[in-house]
């Protein structure tokens, strides 16, 4: 469960990237976040995992109230979220295997379990043959898929994906969507910022549209509704 109440975010340079966000995302939902470049989609998403702090307002993610959370609790919040970053954020000096494994090592899984799970998710995104490569030896789309693999590796309750198909061709993108659909059908919440209108049209889900730091549309499949407080 993710809930934003009167959330404002003003960056130090005076850009107002979130102007009174009020959103509630229930466990198990699939929600698209769309809007033009620079609208505030990534900011919205970054506030969920506390990369950015709101200037004011309340954010609740699962059982964490982010305005009250202590620094030492942040890692535990993030472990409940699987995050696909817009710029991938792979560790440059770890191999693909180690990058994905990292997300499991932090929760101190034992090495065998980690190996099995890493190979499984790498297979899912079609990159099992790249286990020993380093990030800079991969194509853009391949790096993006590693980021996706890492996000789903520890079976998080919520997957937050920022533009996860930006560097993927339509076929590969469809493959990724199938994966997200499947984990969503198993109960995982999925929040996905995207520019890909084909995907939004094809896989129908709730759509949140942000424009210039304001939520201008919050629409369940097929219909409009105004966001309630």
């Amino acid at each position: 469960m993710i809930e934003f109440k009167h959330v404002f975010k003003k960056y130090p340079n005076e850009v107002l990237a979130a102007n009174d966000f009020n959103v509630k995302i229930r466990q198990g939902e699939f929600i698209y976040v769309i809007g033009p470049s620079g609208a505030g989609k990534s900011t919205f998403i970054k506030m969920m995992y506390r990369e950015e702090r709101p200037t004011s307002g309340e954010i609740k993610v699962n059982d964490y109230e982010l305005q009250k959370i202590k620094n030492s609790e942040i890692p535990f919040l993030r472990r409940e979220l699987g995050i696909v970053f817009q710029d991938f954020k792979l560790l440059p000096k770890l191999t693909i295997f180690e990058n994905v494994a990292y997300a499991l090592q932090v929760i101190e899984k034992d090495p065998e379990t980690i190996a099995t799970r890493v190979n499984y998710v790498l297979d899912l995104v079609g990159l099992k043959h790249k286990v020993d490569a380093f990030p800079n030896e991969l194509s853009g789309g391949e790096q993006q898929r590693i980021s996706i693999a890492r996000a789903i590796a520890n079976k998080p309750e919520v997957v937050i994906a920022d533009e996860p198909t930006g560097n993927l061709d339509p076929d590969t993108a469809a493959g990724i969507m199938e994966i997200l659909e499947r984990i969503n059908s198993e109960g995982t919440t999925v929040v996905m910022a995207t520019h890909n209108s084909q995907i939004v049209d094809q896989y129908k889900h709730r759509v949140l549209e942000i424009e210039d730091g304001k939520i201008v549309r919050d629409q369940t499949e097929g219909g409009f509704f105004q966001d309630e407080d």
Partner: protein, 295 residues
């Protein structure tokens, strides 16, 4: 922390050392050069100190024996002197020998005073265990029978003490400065390498690693860097010291002064270097990271 996690940290730290390539080489060589400097200068300073205190210990009390004292009485006096617990060595010098010294320093005219004209006394040259004790020894000796006078160099000895004291004080000051510099440079180097990995650290945090989890491999990597960086300095200092010890000891032999024994001294300095390396590497690493672990 689980054992498997700890193992992971160790493996990870070594891997990272390897994968950071030139960065690791640069950090390692900074540690190496710094510890080399510390090793060499410390060796020199500590030996200068040692020789200085040898010189200081070399100050002697000259106990002038009453003329007409017979051999037996002299032996008794020597025993009494030896009983003073602060006395380390007693050497006899006859008045003829004393006259030779005078002639050596002031000229052959004094030959006139040879034989029975010799106005000098037989002397016991007494060495103190510690230089501060010379004064007491002289006082005690003066009270003894058959002692004409007891002198301990007076002003000139005090001047020597003063010089030696100064050398030792400066030695300590330089050592402290050097230690401070070494600690600073090593931790600073480690800090720079960590600054350059700011990005990596923030990614680690973003995927749910706790500060402890992130920190350990870095701390261990710092410790390895310190440890490996101590190897070459230790080899150079050890070999160099043994070599120079051979040469210098020889030429010092006649003076009675000596350098610090390699076996003991090298063990100490090696330990010091390894400790500085590991401890400062690890701590420097741990502290530098704090900045990045706040957010």
């Amino acid at each position: 922390m689980k054992i498997s996690t700890f193992k992971r940290h160790v493996v990870e730290s070594l891997k990272s050392l390897k994968r950071n390539g030139w960065m690791s080489v640069a950090a390692l060589s900074a540690v190496t050069v710094t510890l080399l400097l510390v090793g060499i200068l410390f060796s020199i300073l500590m030996n200068v100190n040692k020789v200085a205190s040898d010189i200081e210990n070399d100050v002697q009390v000259r106990v002038l024996i009453d003329r007409g004292t017979n051999k037996k009485q002299e032996a008794k006096l020597k025993q009494n002197l030896a009983k003073l617990h602060s006395v380390s060595k007693i050497k006899f010098s006859s008045k003829e020998q004393e006259l030779k010294n005078v002639i050596g320093s002031y000229g052959k005219e004094f030959k006139l005073f040879g034989g029975d004209d010799n106005p000098l006394n037989d002397v016991f040259v007494v060495s103190a265990k510690k230089p501060e004790q010379t004064v007491t020894i002289a006082k005690e000796a003066k009270k003894m029978k058959h002692v004409y006078d007891a002198k301990y160099g007076g002003a000139s000895a005090k001047k020597l003490f003063n010089i030696v004291d100064n050398i030792q004080k400066w030695g300590i000051a330089i050592s402290l400065l050097l230690l401070f510099v070494a600690v600073f440079l090593i931790s600073n180097t480690i800090r720079i390498t960590i600054l350059s990995r700011k990005n990596e650290i923030s990614i680690m945090r973003l995927v749910g690693a706790t500060n402890g989890f992130i920190r350990w491999p870095f701390i261990l990597e710092g410790a390895w860097t310190g440890l490996f960086g101590a190897i070459i300095p230790i080899i150079i200092v050890d070999l160099g010291y043994v070599w120079l010890y051979g040469i210098i000891s020889n030429s010092l032999a006649s003076t009675g002064y000596s350098l610090l024994t390699p076996s003991v001294f090298l063990f100490q300095i090696d330990t010091l270097l390894i400790l500085i390396g590991i401890v400062i590497g690890a701590i420097g690493s741990g502290i530098s990271m704090r900045r990045f672990l706040r957010i």
